[in-house]
């Protein structure tokens, strides 16, 4: 009964959100689309960092791989952008899989270091391969639809975000999700109980990278201009901050974080690029004092309220 009610509420919330852009102007529609891009990024990064405990600094780089792969295919080979998005997703998955096999056996901090290096290398390659990528000038790419419309893009991004969330939800609630969490909690104990720790991590990293690739490819065809800003560390730390502040390892956390920080950063845009720095600092403080983020604070508050109510009702 309660589960059914919850499902109805969820459906109603999604429907209300889907109707929202009809009441908004173009600028606010844009913010919603960008927010949905960050929902995809943060939710897929959370799958890896929040549920298996592996911190990748290459998530923005994988979005960049998706964006540039799809963009270059469209510009140089005239490939349909939708096929390009699929190709970009696949290429990000392949890179994730190979990097995963290379460094996830080592565990610990090695994935972080390798992805940080990978991210920088990709950045240098994009900046220098001017003939192909147009470097910092940016690569002009065609859109996903013949007639540009923010409303249409909103629904494309909404659908993609829902697909991303569905993939994440399915994985963490399937049997493999138990393995993810076991590996995060204690990998030695997990291995002793029959969990193939390396395989679990490679799977999570590959899926997470593929989802970032898809998000990046779609984003490129929305902006119509792909720049090295997409695979930048700025972007990486923004995604990290969104996930950590929203709630690492919770399903709702990255959604809350993505909308919260994207909307907030639009309001403080006037102060320049310092907002990423500010978010990074807030994320550090949250990680130290409220490691489950906003969602954790909310759950804690509700648990205490229920306890107080139970105590009040007892005598």
């Amino acid at each position: 009964m309660k589960a059914i009610a919850k499902r109805w509420w969820l459906g109603a919330a999604v429907a209300a959100f889907a109707a929202l852009p009809w009441t908004l102007g173009v600028y606010h529609q844009h913010i919603l689309i960008v927010s949905l891009f960050y929902v995809m990024m943060a939710a897929s990064w959370n799958l890896l960092a929040g549920y298996t405990g592996q911190v990748s600094f290459g998530h923005a780089a994988f979005a960049g791989i998706g964006a540039y792969a799809s963009g270059i295919l469209a510009v140089k080979a005239g490939v349909n952008p939708w096929i390009g998005v699929a190709a970009g997703t696949l290429l990000a998955a392949v890179f994730g899989f190979l990097l995963g096999i290379l460094c996830l056996k080592l565990g610990g901090i090695y994935l972080s270091l390798t992805t940080l290096g990978f991210s920088e290398i990709l950045h240098i390659v994009i900046n220098n391969e001017y003939e192909i990528t147009r470097g910092t000038m940016g690569l002009q790419v065609p859109g996903l639809i013949a007639e540009y419309s923010k409303l249409a893009y909103f629904y494309i991004f909404l659908a993609a975000a829902l697909v991303t969330l569905a993939v994440v939800h399915r994985l963490i609630h399937a049997n493999i999700g138990l393995n993810f969490r076991a590996v995060q909690n204690d990998e030695r104990a997990a291995a002793a109980l029959g969990v193939d720790v390396v395989r679990v991590r490679v799977l999570a990293f590959t899926v997470s990278s593929a989802l970032a690739g898809m998000a990046g490819a779609l984003y490129g065809h929305y902006l119509l201009l792909i720049t090295p800003q997409i695979p930048s560390l700025d972007q990486q730390f923004l995604v990290l901050s969104m996930t950590v502040i929203g709630g690492l390892g919770s399903f709702a956390g990255p959604i809350i974080g993505a909308f919260g920080l994207e909307i907030l950063s639009e309001y403080i845009r006037a102060y320049g690029e310092y907002h990423v720095l500010a978010f990074g600092l807030v994320a550090l403080i949250v990680a130290r004092f409220a490691p489950r983020g906003v969602v954790g604070i909310w759950n804690g508050w509700r648990a205490r309220r229920d306890l107080a109510r139970a105590a009040g009702a007892a005598p």
Binding site: N175, N179, N185, A189, A191, A192, L193, G194, D196
Partner: protein, 239 residues
């Protein structure tokens, strides 16, 4: 042929030889105790059998097949489960989920309601049914040790390796625990390899005792013979 056999098992950490050419055998269906003073290499031997460590030299065979060098998860799937001396629960997961990890890696196709039922059964076996929905980090030390056993059983082992599961129990609880392990062995047809400091428990439970001292096998035999042997007394008490 014994269920578990080691030949010349050695392991060095830097210059220190934690284990030096140990031969041992654990016969199917028996309870074999592994004792020795602190630092004798008991847990190192367990880690090698369970695949948490590879031996520097020597081989371990389980059911006639070599297992030394295999990763821990594959050794588990061959039918060896172990508990940890310092318990390692998945703290953020419920007791039910802790046990479920062992089940789903043995039976990957099981649906959620099936593994929940089975996990509840293993928890009931160790007396933790009331804690099924409790996060494992909230258990006390003794409950955590029980959870370790439930998780190990959930992997459906043929060989159960216990690493000091009686620590912190009083005399009567030790009696009950020994009875529980013996009963478990009989009911499930298990073989038990057991490190324990509580000598009285091993005396009661084990059919055979191995004594390690400074990385070598000092002696093996029935418990009564082992504790009265002057070499063992010397190893424990010194001159």
């Amino acid at each position: 042929m014994a269920l578990l056999e080691g030949h010349g098992v050695s392991r060095a950490f830097g210059g220190v030889r934690a284990l030096d050419g140990v031969d041992f055998a654990v016969e199917a269906g028996t309870i074999v105790g592994l004792i020795g003073p602190n630092g004798a290499g008991k847990t190192t031997l367990f880690n090698i059998v369970a695949g948490a460590l590879a031996p520097s030299q020597g081989t371990v065979r389980f059911d006639g097949r070599q297992i030394s060098g295999l990763p821990a998860y594959r050794i588990c799937r061959r039918g060896i489960a172990r508990t940890f001396q310092v318990t390692r629960p998945f703290g953020e997961m419920t007791c039910l989920e802790n046990v479920a990890v062992g089940i789903i890696n043995r039976h990957p196709a099981l649906g959620q309601s099936e593994w929940q039922d089975r996990a509840a059964g293993f928890l009931a076996e160790v007396g933790l049914e009331a804690q099924a929905r409790t996060a494992a980090k909230h258990l006390n030390v003794i409950q955590k040790k029980r959870l370790e056993i439930a998780r190990a059983l959930a992997t459906e082992p043929r060989l159960l390796m216990l690493d000091e599961v009686l620590g912190g129990l009083n005399t009567q609880e030790i009696q009950e625990a020994v009875g529980f392990i013996r009963e478990l062995r009989d009911r499930r047809g298990l073989t038990v390899f057991w490190i324990e400091h509580v000598m009285g428990a091993i005396m009661q439970a084990a059919e055979k005792v191995l004594v390690l001292d400074q990385g070598t096998l000092l002696m093996e035999g029935p418990p009564a013979a082992v504790v009265s042997d002057p070499r063992v007394v010397h190893a424990y008490l010194g001159d």
